[in-house]
């Protein structure tokens, strides 16, 4: 009875497996060819990350004012995605030929050898913007940061952030400290701050990157601005002495208690609060922090007591302190297949007006030139803008050129490094193995 009853099911399921396998094989080769002259879609659809509310709001504002004509010709429509799901969503949309015209993408995907880059599914903006006569509206430093991070001009610099050390000038004055010029001076200052009962640094270890950035900057100062390009090109290994020294420097800072208690589970918001409430004297973070600094409800120490300095030089190192770390936000790519005349008009309008719009309305510093007058710029923002204009050479962040897996490993393993469960050598060996495996 049992055998007779199960046989039809067995036959049916074998057949299903066979069908599914064939379907599975057939499903693989999908996707359409990109490149060439694009044709306009019905709407100018923009896919932005949930986490970046400013971008959506500012594009909407442009569609109602400066880019009204473009919006009437091709209405703006928004789509959202969680930052963590970007790679998954864009991969699926692209394979189905259903990409929005303008979309956020994973750093790795838009590089020349990335999934989108290799199949020409991302457009080079330089050509488009030059053709439209607005290439000058992209700040050269921002363009070079985009090209450095993505290998080609495939993202619009909706943000242009410098990264450095925000410090509490009141605490520094109280202790008679000057802005440190070298890493040793920074450590000495941190020691004095700690002895005075303040927490030297507020770093959000839960996010990983606020710790790896310190290590990365040490490495850039020690090896020089091309430190991570050497790793990418195989000219150096992370296990080489100067790279391990970066990991050692970070591990030592943690061991000396410069980050306070429980920093490994500290979330970014809590770290910002620790700095803005005056409990911590310094925090390494980006200029996106200006939003918080300019908000009196969050900033208890007062905007006038916030200073901003670059990561200092390492004595005897090849890098210098004026090589600021910079980034241009998440990659915002354009689908070449949809780059018709109306989409091009939209992009040109954004390049021309976004800089002024975002600074005026949200106090956000972008990589676009500010055309027109901006009123009531907060003091700190103006000071940072001034620094930004004076920057000649920038470096990327530590993980920028790593593949997705190594990138993730760098920030997840850093908690092991800073708690002594992994030696600096082990940390770098494991990371180098991951980099090698991705080659």
């Amino acid at each position: 009875m049992t055998t007779r009853r199960t046989r039809p099911f067995a036959v049916a399921s074998t057949a299903l497996v066979a069908i599914a396998l064939t379907a599975g094989c057939a499903g693989g080769g999908g996707g359409q060819a990109g490149g060439g002259a694009g044709s306009d879609p019905d709407t100018f659809t923009v896919l932005t990350p949930n986490e970046n509310e400013t971008l959506e709001a500012q594009l909407t504002a442009l569609s109602e004012n400066q880019c009204k004509a473009e919006n009437e010709a091709l209405p703006l429509e928004h789509q959202k995605v969680a930052q963590a799901d970007v790679v998954q969503k864009v991969t699926l949309l692209a394979s189905q030929g259903a990409l929005p015209a303008h979309f956020v993408a994973g750093t790795d995907m838009v590089r020349p050898d990335g999934d989108l880059g290799a199949s020409d599914r991302v457009l080079d903006y330089e050509e488009l913007l030059t053709e439209a006569g607005v290439w000058d509206d992209v700040l050269p430093a921002a363009a070079s940061t985009v090209e450095g991070a993505y290998g080609q001009m495939v993202s619009l610099p909706y943000q242009y952030n410098l990264e450095g050390i925000w410090y509490n000038t009141a605490i520094f004055d109280e202790l008679g400290l000057e802005e440190p010029q070298t890493f040793d001076e920074l450590l000495a200052a941190a020691g004095e701050v700690k002895d005075a009962g303040y927490q030297p640094f507020a770093q959000a270890g839960a996010a990983g990157w606020p710790l790896t950035r310190l290590m990365g900057m040490y490495i850039f100062r020690e090896v020089g601005p091309d430190a991570m390009e050497k790793i990418r090109d195989g000219e150096a290994e992370l296990t080489d002495e100067p790279y391990v020294a970066g990991a050692t420097a970070l591990a030592d800072m943690a061991a000396d208690g410069l980050f306070g208690d429980g920093f490994n589970s500290l979330e970014p918001d809590a770290a910002t609060a620790a700095f803005l409430s005056g409990r911590a004297a310094m925090t390494y973070d980006g200029t996106w922090l200006l939003g918080n600094i300019n908000d009196p409800a969050q900033n208890e120490i007062g905007a006038e007591n916030v200073g901003f300095m670059p990561f200092p030089a390492v004595e005897g190192g090849a890098g210098t302190a004026d090589q600021w770390a910079a980034n241009a936000g998440a990659a915002m790519a354009l689908d070449p297949a949809q780059a018709g005349p109306k989409v091009k008009d939209w992009i040109a309008c954004i390049a021309e007006n976004y800089g002024q719009q975002a600074l005026q309305d949200a106090g956000v510093l972008s990589g676009f030139k500010v055309n027109g007058e901006v009123t009531d710029v907060p003091e700190t923002t103006a000071a940072v803008q001034e620094k930004l204009e004076g920057v000649d050479e920038t470096v990327l962040w530590f993980e920028a050129l790593l593949d997705a897996k190594s990138n993730s490993l760098a920030s997840t393993n850093v908690s092991l490094l800073t708690t002594g469960q992994m030696t600096p050598e082990q940390y770098m060996t494991e990371l180098q193995a991951s980099v090698d495996a991705a080659r």
Binding site: L21, G27, D85, V87, D115, N264
Partner: protein, 305 residues
Amino acid sequence: MPRADAPARRTAASRVFGDRTAILFLLLPTLLVYVALKVVPVAWSLGLSLFEGNALRGMEFVGLDNFATFFTDDAALHALVISVVFAVVATVCQVTLGYLLALLYVFVLRRGSAFVRTAVFFPMVLPTVAVALLFRSLVGVGDNQGPVNDVINLFGGESVEFLVSTAGTMAVAVAMTLWSSMGFYAVLMYTGLLDIPEEVIESARLDGASGFRLVRHIVVPLSLPILLSSVIFSLNATLKVFDSLLALNNGGPGTSTAPLTLYMYRTAFEYAEYGYGSTIAVVLTLLCLVFTLAVFRSSSKRVED
């Protein structure tokens, strides 16, 4: 009254269940849904595991290469160990605690157990992510010190940062799993214990069995089928643990508490390697199958007895 109806009902039932067409007709809708939602994705995954790449880059047939990679991939093997260790520890603890609770309900609290049963069961209905965030706060240190460390401080100890070590994270994860699911296993096994005829227990008592001996020789053997089901339920649920470890500490510190499921998710969706991700899924499926069969085999004889 019901007794008079029984034979008639039985004949009607056997008439329906003796008819193949009727069986097929009754089963077909459920079977179709099952096949579409369970069998097809598993088969699809099996197919994908023989390929490399993703939908965008294109898929390349690589045969069994992905499986060979799996067994030389340290991260994958570590994730496998984490999955198995977590499943075994969590299962042993939650089934034991659940069983003890069930015994408590039946033999000590008796009719008054309703409130305790509800209270212990309650965490089961909370979303795992919320529970994980709760436990994260409970063991917090530094600016957001949680009550666990407050208690440690009270007794003169120094604050412990549980989530920076593998052992600490696993301990919190197991405690969290126990808190949220032991009530479920307790209720499951409570119903099993209720099925033991009162007369059997009474006669064993008359024969002089009491306390531990009564449980050991009468209660446990008679509730073995439900105990076994609980073990299988628990193993399958804990082998597939994902959300709790992800929300608790993101599989950290490092990747030291990342189970197979989390490694699979990252491989497929963060690193866009669908083929290898599917391979990990297949290994996980096999693992669940092996565990279930092993549990069945090891005690099927005793259950039939």
